[in-house]
Structure formats: structure tokens, C-alpha cells
């Protein structure tokens, strides 16, 4: 049984000269690292100013010593350390080949994020948490070859934080991508969550997945009604995750009566300001 371990630098360490260039060396010098299969990399010092590229390069350059890692999270930090949209990500192009044993990859932040040619035989789970996902990343994912992928969660986000697409971008991605073993689809954290609920419900993956995840966005009764209408057509769906939403109590009640597991926690209320209705996706406020 492998261990889970998190590596990060606090402010004092950053002031003492630690940063992305020293992170891999510090990880490798940890006597416990040989047992670490679940590797989390938190703040690398000044995550708003320095990209994590040196860390990614350090992993690929020492691929044999990272071969036992099955789960990797790059950029696990919260608002206390860095705005999610300010986290400087990197190019993952060389990582896919370097870590053939990787089963789960989570990336936080989308600034300067490049996935490259995504091809991996064993990756089962890919999550990108960000304030706004660029169309370039959607394009890379469209071409991705991930035959074992079971779980895909994408935070869509908003324009100010990097989402430069529309619902059609997501629609095209779902149409053109090919993840034959996908069972969990997450299209989260959007301010057009109702539209994306419709896009997801019309996608080819609906007949294959058991979990539909539309959480952390501005899902309203409009999207809720659509889910109520369409979900009974898909007996394969076992779990609906819509936590953090803007639906009414009545709609939540109706969804909860579906014969599946429903997470509709964290309700929010829209605000009216100068006659306009304001709603925020979870990571965008």
C-alpha cells in the first residue's frame, strides 16, 4: 500500500530561496518518497510569478525515480496562497510518456497550461481545476488518446479567467473526443451551466457514463428541469452531482426524488443589483 504525501513551500521557505527549481530535488531527497504513490505538489513558492515548468521537467528528467507514482496533483493550493487564475502552469507534453504508470492526474490552474500530445495507455482520471479553460486545451483534449480514461472533470470557468470559448466549444469537444471507457463526466464551474447541462445531456457519453457532474456552476431551475426531463432516458446514470447551484428548493426536491444518488447541496441565491441578476460560478467570484 503506497503513501500519500504533499510537498509544498511556505512563505519562509520561499524567502529562503526555495522555488520550482528546488522542488524535485527536495522530493527526491525525502527518504519516504520511494513509498509515495499519491504525490501532491502544493505551492512552489511564488506560484503567481513562477511557472511549475521546472517541476514538470524535473519529473520527466528523473522519470525512473517517479515511476511508482500513480496519482499526481500539480498546483494544489487555495485562495490563501494564490488566485486560481494566477497559478502559472506549464507544458505537460513530455509527462505522458515519462510516467506510464500514472493513473490519476489533477492540474490546478490554467494560465500557460499546455497539455501537448496527450497519449497515455493507463490514465484513468484527469481533472483540470481552473477559473477558465482555454480553447487550446479543449483542442488538445479533443485529440487525446486516453483509452483507459474513466473519469474526466473539467472546470469551464469564465472569460475573465481564461475561458475563451462558448457552449459550442464544449459541444464540439464532447462530439469529437473519444474516451471509450468514460464513466464519470464532469463539466463544472461555469456561468453558462444551464447551457452546458443541455450540451452534456445531448452528448454521446450520456449512454455510457454512470456519473454526471455539473457541480459548482450557475445551474438554475432551467437546467434542473432539463435534467428532470432527460435523465430518466438514461438508466445507466447512477449519480448526479449538482452541488453548488442556484436552483430553487422545489427543484432540488424534485431532483432528489429521482431514483439515483443526487448531491444538490450548497444552494446559492442570485443577487439583484440595479435590475440585473448576478450569479457566480464557484471559482470565479
Amino acid at each position: 500500500m503506497g503513501k500519500a504525501k504533499r510537498y509544498q513551500y511556505d512563505y519562509e521557505q520561499y524567502e529562503d530561496g526555495k522555488g520550482p527549481k528546488t522542488m524535485v530535488e527536495d522530493i527526491l531527497s525525502d527518504p519516504e518518497f520511494g513509498q509515495v504513490t499519491d504525490l501532491t505538489i502544493g505551492s512552489w513558492g511564488d506560484a503567481c510569478g513562477d511557472s511549475c515548468q521546472d517541476i514538470l521537467d524535473g519529473i520527466t528528467d528523473n522519470k525512473d525515480r517517479f515511476a511508482h507514482v500513480e496519482k499526481l496533483f500539480v498546483g494544489d493550493m487555495d485562495y490563501e496562497e494564490c488566485e486560481v487564475s494566477w497559478i502559472m502552469q506549464g507544458n505537460y507534453g513530455r509527462l505522458w510518456k515519462a510516467l506510464p504508470g500514472l493513473k490519476e492526474l489533477t492540474i490546478k490552474g490554467s494560465t500557460d497550461l499546455i497539455l501537448g500530445d496527450v497519449e497515455h495507455e493507463n490514465l484513468e482520471s484527469l481533472t483540470i481545476i481552473c477559473g477558465g479553460l482555454g480553447t487550446s486545451v479543449f483542442e488538445e483534449l479533443k485529440r487525446a488518446k486516453l483509452p483507459s480514461l474513466k473519469k474526466l472533470v473539467l472546470y469551464i470557468g469564465i472569460e475573465n479567467y481564461g475561458f475563451d470559448g462558448t457552449k459550442d466549444t464544449v459541444k464540439a469537444f464532447l462530439e469529437e473526443s473519444d474516451f471509450p471507457n468514460l464513466v464519470h463526466l464532469g463539466i463544472e464551474d461555469s456561468e453558462i451551466q444551464d447551457d452546458l447541462a443541455q450540451v452534456a445531456l445531448e452528448s454521446k457519453y450520456m449512454s455510457r457514463i454512470h456519473t454526471l457532474d455539473l457541480a459548482n456552476g450557475t445551474l438554475t431551475d432551467k437546467g434542473g428541469a432539463l435534467l428532470l426531463e432527460k435523465l430518466p432516458q438514461f438508466p445507466n446514470i447512477q449519480v448526479l452531482d449538482v452541488h453548488y447551484h442556484y436552483m430553487s428548493d422545489g427543484m432540488v426536491k424534485k431532483l432528489s426524488q429521482l431514483p439515483i444518488q443526487v448531491d444538490a447541496s450548497e444552494p446559492n441565491e442570485a443577487e439583484e443589483y440595479h435590475g440585473e441578476i448576478w450569479m457566480n460560478a464557484m471559482l470565479t467570484e
Partner: protein, 367 residues
Amino acid sequence: MSRLMLLGNPGTKRTRYLEKGAALWGVQLCLLDWKEFPKNLLSQDSGAGPFFLKIDPPLWDSCCLEQLSGLTWEYKENLMELARQGSRGKICFFNDPKTIKALLDKRGCKRRLREMGIPVTEELEFFDWEGGKKEGPGQYPRFSDLLDAMKDQGIFQVFLKPNYGSGAAGVMALRCDPAKGQMVLYTCAAKDPETGRLVNTKRLRRFGDRQQVSDMAQLLLRQDCIAERWYPKAEHNGHSYDLRVVVQDGEVDFALARLSKGPITNLQLNNRPLKAEELGLSDSVWDRVRQICLKAAGCYPGLRSAGIDILLEKGSLRPRVIEMNGQGDLIYQDIYGENRIYQKQGKMMREWQMRRQWEDRIWKNTC
């Protein structure tokens, strides 16, 4: 019977739960209403011997930050008046009014703690309020002064707080990325569209537009502010938290974690409280927190009860004192539970009363 007084506010939770705690020790309190201060205090001076007095904070209903500043000034004057009355030997204070006043001054409190070697959340030097305002009387620091100081000192995230203020009133969390010119500000303060003044609300907002950030911060800088380094706080189950520790007579009587999904953890913002023991912190972390709290309380000899806010740095869990409060003893999770804090105060009052009776007996026997 030696008299026990509370200068406070009728019907409030502070009053009711202190009365309950005192009653357990057979102690009855006489309430002096802040609304009738100082007349009600002066009328106690009847030659009936000294009395014990606990001072609760007065109730304020304004949410305008400039008004709060005026009310704080008035409160400090009242505390000085209480200290003058006490100097005549007629009052035994629970917490000394001069100490309560000293703790209202965040900058002064931290200076003292720092001098005693206690780790605090460090301040950014950006405007010399006390050494004479740099640009002459009546001038305020500019937002650009703050940004320059942040850049010079290599600190890119700070909390801007009114030096005299309680709770989250007016607090702003500011983060800048000088390389890209980005900035973001989190605050519960809002600009009143009619008066243009800052008002306190219970909702945390985020501003990402540079002009908005500048406007909001500049409004707060019109008051005497401190800028503290914003240390990433420890997290528990996806929430960041700090601790409110209540120290009374050299013992930690209560510790509460204040969990939040935003940078400001004050419980008035509907953040989530958690019994500190449920955080699963190691004994060594607790020992460090306890030692720091006891040492901090010990820096103020006239202070028998202190609410101390402690930050644990993310990762290292290194504790630092954020601020101290001479009236920080109201914890809902305690009063609706064991009411341990106010029961202890009841015990302290009972002990004072018994000591007085004993001293009186000796005095009479001697005569």
C-alpha cells in the same frame, strides 16, 4: 455582601450567560447599563466599600466605518474615565480598563508582543502614523504608497485593517501580482452609493478590477490602518481556519477553530465554527499554541480574561498571534454548550467576594 457589578447591556447574550455562570456559584450580579454611564457608576460611590466590576463592550448599531471610528474614540474615553474612578481604590476590575483600551490598539498590542518575543502576524511598514504623518497633518496614505511598500518589501498579499476595530469590520485582503499588474481584493466592506462611505456588511465580496480595488482600499486608508502580511492559513477539510483561544487566569478555557471558504474568518460572516479538538492537531502544535497564548496574556498583568486570535501557517502550522481582545469572551459554541468561560468568571467573582469577606472579618477583629 461585597458587590459584584457588570457594566454592560441588559438582555444580551453576554449578560444573560454571565449571569447564568455566576448563579452556579451563588453569585448575583448588579447590572450597570452602558446607556446610563457614567451616572450609574458614580452613584455606586457611596462609601460601601470597593466593588468588583466587569466591563463588557457597549452596543453599537452603526455599520458605517467612519462612525465606528468615532464610537471607538468615545469608548476609549469612557475606559479612561473608568480607570480614573478605579484609581481611587473603590473598584476592583475584572479586566483593567487601561488594558482593554491598550488591546483595542492592534499596532500597539503587536509591538508589545513582538518585544516579548511572541510571534505575531508581521506588519508592513507603509506609513508612519505615529511618528507624525509623513505628508503633514490631515493627509492619508495613498493606495500607491501601500503598493510601493509591498513591492519594496517583496510582500504581495496583505490584510488591511482599521487599527481600532473589532471583528471583520472594514478588513480587506489584498493580493497583487506586480509582474502582470493584476490585483484582487476581498472584503465585507461596501461603498454606500448615497454617501460614498464604507459600510460594513456580512457578505464577503471579491473585486478584481484595478480601479475598484484602488477605490475601495483608498476609502479604508482614510482611517488609521495597519497592513499585515497575509500568511496562508492552515486548512481543514477544504476550509482555511484560524483559532480563537480564551485564556483566563493563566489557563486556556476554550479554543475554537473558525473555518472559512474565504480569507476572512470572522464568525459573524456565517463562517463555520468547529471545536478546536476536532482539527486533529498534534500535541506539539497544541503545546506551542498554549504556550504562546499564556505568554501573550501574561504580557498584560491587568488582564484576567483574554480572547486571542491565532493563525497557524499553512504547512508548518507555526502559530502567530493575529490580535488580542480584552473582551473576547463571548463564544456561542461555549454558551450554548457548557458555558465554561462564564462559569469560570462566576468562580473568579465568588473567590473575590470570599476574599473580601475574609479581609473584612480580619479588619473588624483587629479593630
